[in-house]
């Protein structure tokens, strides 16, 4: 049974993670949340990303959203911004999202086959 009382412990856990990253983020993940993105499964992609980061104990990755970028055909899309480079992945699903976290965000290896644009 979850109650608001649990939040004291949750707060301690969060503070611990915040201390570890010392205000520095190693990467940014941006999920497109326009209507077409949501209809194509962006919410499940977001859930998979949050879960994968949590499972791996990663707290120095920022997760944000953007609206429609005009890439409606290729939704769900996810941008990874790391080491000064921005890569957009298209046709992402929960499973691909987990692999993008493991390979690109954690190990820095871009998964070329899934990239729709890079800059």
């Amino acid at each position: 049974m979850k109650t608001l009382e649990d939040l004291k412990k949750v707060r301690e856990q969060a503070l611990e993670q915040m201390k570890l990253r010392e205000g520095k983020f190693s990467a940014k993940v941006v999920v497109a949340m326009g209507t077409c993105g949501i209809a194509a499964g962006a919410r499940e992609v977001m859930a998979a990303i949050l879960d994968e980061l949590d499972k791996r104990g990663i707290s120095d990755v920022a997760v944000t959203q953007t609206g429609c970028k005009g890439l409606c055909e290729q939704e769900p899309t996810v941008d990874i911004i790391k080491n000064g480079q921005s890569v957009t992945y298209g046709y992402v699903d929960a499973d691909k999202a987990r692999q993008i976290i493991a390979q690109h965000v954690v190990n820095g290896n871009v998964i070329g086959d899934w990239v729709v644009s890079a800059s």
Binding site: K8, R11, A14, M18, G34, R43, A47, L50, D54, V63
Partner: protein, 182 residues
């Protein structure tokens, strides 16, 4: 959309795009009246009256990346397909209220689906939004309010991993059993 909770996520994006700092979402099932009502109230910039009267038309949008707006027309169509309707009230500078009705038992009504995931997603990317979510079945209600959390969290943002995980589990638990809506 496969789930009504996906429409809710999409409509919440409209509120956020309109600069809302406060969003109240309610999903209420009345089993006697065989009716489901989904409403969203925000304090965003609102819409002018003539714009509101045209916004269910897909060719009305203020976005620039795509010439058609789809979110509201799709939600309107979903309600109408289930013997319901979408009502919109908005005042510029004050905010917007949307309420859609559905026949609860209608064969074409999409399930509410994963509302916990919709709420976690909204909060993950809008940690400063004051969000209140109410789910009712007849006289039973589950209420989730980010203000209550903020008091307990005392300065820790809502979008920290452990907090989001807890929110997901808390909402999932609260929206099951007596306030469950399928």
């Amino acid at each position: 959309m496969r789930e009504l909770s996906m429409h809710i996520l999409d409509l919440a994006q409209n509120s956020i795009a309109a600069g809302a700092s406060r969003l109240e979402i309610e999903v209420a099932a009345d089993t006697n009246a065989d009716r489901l009502v989904i409403s969203l109230q925000d304090n965003g910039r609102g819409m002018a009256p003539d714009f509101v009267s045209r916004v269910k038309d897909p060719f009305v949008t203020t976005r620039t990346t795509r010439r058609v707006g789809l979110g509201i027309p799709m939600f309107d169509a979903a309600a109408r397909a289930c013997d319901g309707r979408l009502a919109i009230q908005s005042s510029p500078g004050k905010g917007t209220y949307l309420a859609a009705t559905f026949k609860l038992s209608h064969i074409d009504r999409a399930p509410l689906g994963d509302i916990a995931s919709t709420i976690v997603t909204i909060i993950a990317v809008n940690p400063d939004l004051h969000l209140r979510y109410t789910q009712r079945v007849d006289d039973k209600a589950f209420i989730f309010d980010t203000d209550e959390l903020k008091t307990q969290l005392d300065g820790v943002p809502l979008n920290e991993g452990p907090v989001l995980k807890w929110i997901g589990e808390y909402v999932k638990q609260g929206t099951s059993e007596e306030t469950e809506i399928n």
